[in-house]
Amino acid sequence: MSAPQATRTTALHAGAWWLWALGLATAASRTTNPLLLGLLVGVAGYVVAARRTDAPWARSYGAFVKVGLVVLGIRLVFAFFLGSPIPGTHTLLTLPEVPLPDWAQGVRIGGRVTAEGMVFALYDGLKLAALLICVGAANALANPSRLLKSLPGALYEAGVAVVVAMTFAPNLIADVQRLRAARRLRGRPDRGVTALLQVGLPVLEGALERSVALAAAMDARGYGRSAQVPRAVRHTTSVLTLGGLLGICAGTYGLLGDTGAGYGLPLLLAGLTAALAGLRLGGRRSLRTRYRPERWGVRAWLVSGSGVAVAVLMIWANGYAPAALHPPAVPLTTPVLPLWPAVSVLLGLLPALVAPVPRAPERPRRAERAPSGTRAVRNGRDDGDDRLRGAGGHPGGGPHSPQHTKEPTP
């Protein structure tokens, strides 16, 4: 089955992308083998490259990769200066050690830097970076607001608030850019920190005004309309939700604590059921319907399944090849790529084959129109008139619209 062109109908459920990415992230959390981690990052990166759109949120992948590298760097710097608990024999260099008082026993600044300690920190940092990059991949591949649309009805309004908040940040940045440009018009420098600070107040003012205007518009468009619900149902909802959340807390405590392992799991499950029932009942207050919700089709199963499979196989591999998945730092050994775990990671590439192909980003226009452009008519009286009529006749034709091609050429 070859992948179709992505349209709203064929678009993959945002949840499928998240499951896939979380599967890869789980797998990454189960190994410290740098080769396997590198393979996981490569798989995520390849799928992002093959299936990401040119939408604004898709550009966040690069930012996540950078954050991952920063995390790795910080981990290495800490290991370098603060030492590491890993005993090592290969001393790289010895830093002067800062004497610390007695109460700070166990903390060390400076001292011996061993190859083993650095390698251990590298493996650990790589794991964190790989986790971040997997989350970044989900962010780039799935529109975050679509995911929020799949929330249960009772949480929808909170979801809208989150979406609005997310659109707020880009607006704020656009405002800052516009106002910095406006500073130039007043003859003040438009670059540098001072310029940024001085537009702060007008930007905040504008943001406040915009949120008030948006609230008015949302109110006028029916945001927050609710259905009449019988009193009994309302009370049941509160009891179920509250009781359920309490149950979840108590159950988690039991599971994690030493003593309550017996009642922990049942309590957690009961709490979860009650909370879900409360959410479902609470949804009755909401009148909302969903416009074209994303369908969970075969492709969504395949994409999410591939992620889950990678996670499950990696957890399983922890059973049969623990040494290969966690190459020891002491003694120093060269990590090898274990065959079967590596093959199972490659399963994560499935989305690059089955997920719908995003529409190709538009080529810069004009390349093919250059000749007609140079013959642009410079007189409005004669044949320039026809062009004007053509120009005026398609007001809907934005720079990207297909009507564009209908424009008559002289």
Binding site: L185, R221, G384
Partner: protein, 545 residues
């Protein structure tokens, strides 16, 4: 359908009511136009219909407003959402979601319509407003006109019985405006929707109105009547009505077509006369203007913004004392060209020279003396708390003697005290203040981006006088505008941009008379004679009388 009973609205700390004594009924299925000068409370009346006044804005509403039998005192705006659709002045502030299709569906989702109904209505609306090609686009990537259409579409999908629009066409180019208005008319005719809209650009909308409500002055009770009755007494009226009043046609023509039918005698009287220069800009600059080189020279300019060429091989020369109007669709590159002239954008090819300087390589402080731009939103230029502080800052920025900005402000805005906060000024006053700030440095080249947006006819007339005086003093002026009447009154030359290319460049008379979308109303009425403005005709008739 909409009933106002003895309504008056007083906002929190105001001494006098914003509107008073409104007692009228808008019948079902009519397109009703709300007109009046700036600041008479048009927006207040509109927001009272959808319940935002007083539920959202605060203030006290006396009397009663009912819409389709629902009292706005007891119904909050959200409970009126299925009968009233509201579009405010700024479409961006209206958007809740992030793509076109979701935005169209949002209101219906709130009302809980069935999924198949929603799907059908979204498709219908996409076609109705010509948005089908943009359905998956992110809202932030749309041009101004496209945004306005999405905003209108987003309230149309709920099929409200009443549609309330505040200046729906003021940001649109003439053709896009006509398309939006014909959509409104179709809604009124085919679906029986009641439409109430406020608009300053009467020449665009008056012909579609069934009823006109005139708010003659702040606090004065409204007058309601048929368009021709109201236009006979209205202080705000389009050029075609002004021409009709001048020629004493009765009943007054409201459309170019009506006027043309009556205009035969007038055309005969004017046939052998050449249009006087009075009422038009003084004849362009003489050869001596070129002694110091052109005020701005653009050669083969290309500007790339993201993946698209915003401008492509643009050539433009502006001489001192000359007024040039830049026209063209929304998104054609007008603002980009102006911004490139002040160095905000960097050219990707070609050269730009403003009085010999390269804008994007010149320090802002030095550039200020050569070129000044009043942006689309004049508020962007204003930082200070009072007019006086703003003037002092401008003097400092421009190294001008203290008080020189204040002199300019007094000239442009005679009755504004020093202590007013710039935000409390009306649109027209704010524009004048921004213009004064820019003029403090005495730039040779003055750029105005969409200066008449939100201005009433009186404010526009003042702007025309000011710009003419500046041109006569030797300023070169470039204005980007959709307002064909303004271009006809001011410009020596019109340059039309389409998709970032110059497609026409020539004297105003030649360009606008021959263009169906860019011709002013007087030119359409008197075609093929080359008369462009009412004052021109008035002067000629005075001479013959």
């Amino acid at each position: 359908m909409i009933r106002f009973e003895q309504v008056s609205v007083t906002y929190g700390d105001a001494a006098a009511p914003a509107v008073r004594g409104i007692d009228l009924t808008v019948p079902e299925g009519e397109l009703c136009l709300l007109v009046g000068p700036s600041g008479v409370g048009k927006s207040t009346v509109l927001n009272a219909v959808c319940g935002l006044v007083p539920h959202f804005t605060g203030g006290t509403l006396h009397g009663r407003v009912t819409v389709d039998g629902r009292d706005t005192r007891t119904h909050r705006p959200r409970e009126l959402a299925d009968v009233v659709g509201t579009v405010g002045q700024d479409p961006l502030a209206h958007f809740v979601t992030d793509t076109v299709e979701d935005e169209l569906a949002y209101g219906m989702e709130s009302l809980g319509l069935a999924p198949d109904v929603m799907r059908r209505r979204v498709e219908e609306t996409l076609d109705l407003l010509g948005l089908a090609g943009l359905r998956d686009r992110a809202l932030t990537t749309l041009s101004g006109g496209q945004r306005q259409r999405v905003a209108i579409g987003s309230v149309l999908t709920t099929h409200p019985k009443v549609l309330v629009l505040d200046e729906p066409t003021s940001a649109l180019d003439p053709a896009a405006a006509e398309e939006v208005l014909s959509v409104l008319q179709r809604l009124v005719h085919d679906l029986g929707t009641t439409v109430l809209l406020a608009e300053h650009r009467l020449e665009r909308v008056i012909q579609y109105a069934d009823q006109v409500i005139l708010l003659p002055a702040p606090g004065a009770p409204p007058v309601m009547g048929s368009p021709s009755e109201i236009m006979a007494i209205s202080p705000v009226h389009p050029p075609v009505v002004a021409l009709g009043r001048l020629a004493q046609w009765s009943p007054l023509p409201l459309t170019v077509r009506d006027a043309r039918r009556r205009a035969a005698p007038l055309r005969d009287r004017l046939r052998d006369r050449t249009p006087p220069t009075a009422g038009r800009p003084a004849p362009g600059p003489g050869p001596e203007a070129d002694r110091n080189g052109p005020a701005a020279e653009v050669r083969g300019l290309g500007v790339r913004r993201g993946p698209t060429d915003a401008l492509y091989r643009v050539d433009l020369t502006v001489r001192a004392g000359e007024t040039v109007a830049l026209m063209g669709r929304n998104g054609a590159g007008k603002s980009t060209l102006l911004n490139t002239l002040v160095g905000v954008h960097q050219p990707s090819s070609g050269t730009v020279r403003v009085a010999g300087a390269v804008p994007h390589r010149t320090a802002p402080r030095a550039l200020l003396r050569h070129v000044g731009l009043v942006p689309q939103e004049p508020r962007d230029l204003l930082y200070a708390d009072t007019v006086a502080a703003e003037c002092a800052a401008a003097d400092q920025d421009a190294d001008a003697p203290a008080g020189s900005c204040r002199v300019l402000v007094s000239r442009l805005l005679p009755d504004v005290p020093d202590s007013v906060h710039p935000r409390d000024l009306s649109e027209g006053q704010r524009l004048a203040l921004a213009l004064a700030l820019v003029l403090t440095a005495r730039p040779g080249l003055l750029l105005l981006d969409e200066p008449t947006r939100g201005l009433d006819y009186a404010a526009k007339a003042r702007l025309v006088e000011v710009v003419r005086a500046l041109a006569a003093e030797g300023h070169a002026i470039v204005l980007a505008t959709h307002d064909v009447e303004l271009a006809a009154e001011l410009a020596h030359r019109v340059v039309i941009l389409a998709d970032g290319e110059v497609v026409a460049d020539g004297p105003t008379d030649d360009i606008v008379v021959s263009s169906p979308s860019f011709a002013p109303q007087v030119a359409k009425v008197l075609a093929p004679l080359p008369w462009l403005t009412v004052p021109q005709v008035a002067r000629a008739l005075e001479a013959t009388a």
